[in-house]
């Protein structure tokens, strides 16, 4: 084993930061997709008709039972004319929506029955019931859990390298292969992940405390 090459660290940093931008973009947009789609899935899961609930359940079960990596490669093969980054964001979003929908479901279940009854007693139409009463309470309750999924997604973005998205780990691998400095460059990539996600999780914990009353 050779000594640790500090020169490689300095040299690869700009490359990694360039990749980090893509990582961040994929995380933010992927989280957005997961947050919106997950909510839609959770609400659809409560539809009165089985024609809605059964397909929704089948699709979420499928997404949850297959690895993200397989989904990424499959989607990239199916839509090979689409920019890999877009595929990556969409697949990340859909994959995580299968989980966030469960979080939302728990949040919706956590809204007391009396709230639904008050809505009915006031004749509020369904849209208004969801929009003005149920979802604001449900989402507030699950915000910390959603945040944790965002952090988790952030750490899974390296899978996007497999479909040639040039995020941070893709760049690290490239540099490592060219300069034969894997240890240095992957240590650095790990540190960047740590520096970005640790404060975020601290923030989430703080938020959790504040909402927890």
């Amino acid at each position: 084993m050779n000594g640790f090459d500090w020169g490689a660290v300095g040299e690869s940093l700009p490359l990694l930061l360039e990749g980090f931008k893509v990582t961040l973009l994929a995380t933010v947009l992927g989280t957005l997709v997961a947050a919106v789609l997950g909510l839609a899935v959770a609400v659809a899961g409560r539809a009165p008709s089985r024609f809605v609930t059964v397909p929704v359940r089948v699709v979420t079960e499928f997404v949850r039972s297959t690895p993200l990596l397989v989904q990424l490669v499959g989607a990239a093969a199916l839509f090979n004319t689409v920019e890999p980054l877009y595929i990556g964001i969409t697949v990340l979003g859909i994959h995580y929506a299968a989980y966030t929908s469960e979080v939302y479901r728990a949040g919706i279940d956590g809204v007391p029955k009396g709230q639904w009854e008050a809505c009915r007693a006031l004749s509020l139409p369904p849209l208004r019931t969801w929009q003005a009463v149920i979802l604001p309470q449900a989402v507030r309750n699950v915000l910390p859990a959603l945040g944790n999924y965002a952090i988790s997604m952030f750490k899974e973005t390296p899978f996007l390298a497999v479909i040639t998205v040039q995020e941070m780990v893709f760049e690290a691998r490239k540099y490592g292969a060219e300069q034969f400095a894997y240890t240095e460059v992957f240590t650095l990539a790990g540190l960047i992940f740590l520096v970005a996600s640790y404060p975020t999780s601290l923030l989430m914990r703080k938020l959790e405390k504040r909402l927890g009353h």
């Binding site: 009396g114 709230q115 009854e117 008050a118 009915r120 007693a121 006031l122 004749s123 139409p125 009463v133």
Partner: protein, 287 residues
């Protein structure tokens, strides 16, 4: 606050048939002889457990009726059926001569109404719950204006003016911008009463509205309800364990046991000279 005239309009239509009443209202029921609410052999079952057993009873327009009886006797179920929070297992509830939770088929038979029709039925009826059920994510003012705006289609300003009047009525003018969590139980229940009144119901259902309150807060809420009863023509159906309230406010008291009306009469009659043994037992236990 209690002695001033209430800023409550007497309900506009002394004649029945409010807008939104289903067109298939029974014309023969007429408007004069028909009670406002009529339970016609209403049955409510949960599985094998019969909560209400072929229940018949009526409430006249403007009447204040109190339902008393032991826990589990079906009192609250009656309110929940009237609010259409529960479905009747059998029988029909008539309000204003129209079936509350049924619609007429072209053949003339009655079938259970859909959610949309139920929403229409509910507009005439307001309910105040034991646990208040205010919306914790909204300020007090929005709790009161939400339904008038989104259900009755009122302008925001009109709804807010009305909400402020109602808050004055319930003695909480200074809490317009508070969140429910910042209020005491008694205050929350006053807001809930204001919220129900904002919908200008013909019938107000009160489900043990003081049971969840600290004892010292009970009197104020009861006094407010007494004021509303005296100064408006809103029909009230209350379930309560406050026998004094039943005595002071209502014209009719119904004693329930095991899903049936054991006896009914004026408060004087029921409280001082009950004719049924079960009523005597119950009153001895609670008074």
């Amino acid at each position: 606050m209690a002695t001033e005239p209430l800023p409550l309009q007497k309900t506009e239509s002394a004649d029945p048939g409010p807008a939104g009443a289903p067109e298939d209202a029974v014309p023969a029921a007429g408007s004069t002889g028909e009670p406002l609410v009529r339970f016609d052999k209403v049955v409510k079952r949960y599985g094998d457990h019969v909560v209400l057993d072929q229940l018949d009873f009526t409430v006249d327009r403007g009447e204040h009726v109190t339902l008393i009886g032991p826990s589990g006797s079906g009192k609250t179920t009656i309110l929940r059926l009237l609010m259409t929070l529960e479905k009747v297992s059998d029988g029909v509830i008539w309000v204003n001569g129209s079936p509350l939770s049924h619609v007429r088929t072209p053949g003339g038979a009655l079938k259970p109404a859909g959610e949309k029709q139920l929403r229409e039925s509910r507009k005439k009826i307001g309910m105040v719950f034991q646990q208040f059920n205010l919306f914790p994510n909204m300020k007090v003012l929005q709790n009161i204006t939400e339904a008038p705006i989104s259900v009755l289609g009122k302008d925001r300003e009109v709804a807010e003016v009305r909400a402020r009047e109602l808050l004055e009525l319930v003695g909480l003018s200074d809490k317009v911008d508070a969140h429910p969590s910042q209020l005491s139980g008694g205050q929350q229940q006053r807001v809930a009463i204001a919220r129900a009144l904002a919908m200008e119901p013909e019938i107000l259902l009160l489900d043990e509205v003081t049971s969840a309150l600290d004892p010292e807060l009970v009197a104020g809420v009861l006094e407010l309800l007494g004021d509303i009863a005296r100064n408006t023509d809103i029909t009230m159906v209350c379930v309560t364990h406050e026998m004094n309230f039943a005595r002071d406010v209502s014209e009719k008291v119904l004693m329930f046991d095991a899903g049936r009306v054991v006896e009914s009469g004026t408060p004087e009659k029921i409280f001082s000279d009950p004719s049924h043994e079960r009523t005597r037992e119950f009153l001895n236990a609670v008074l």
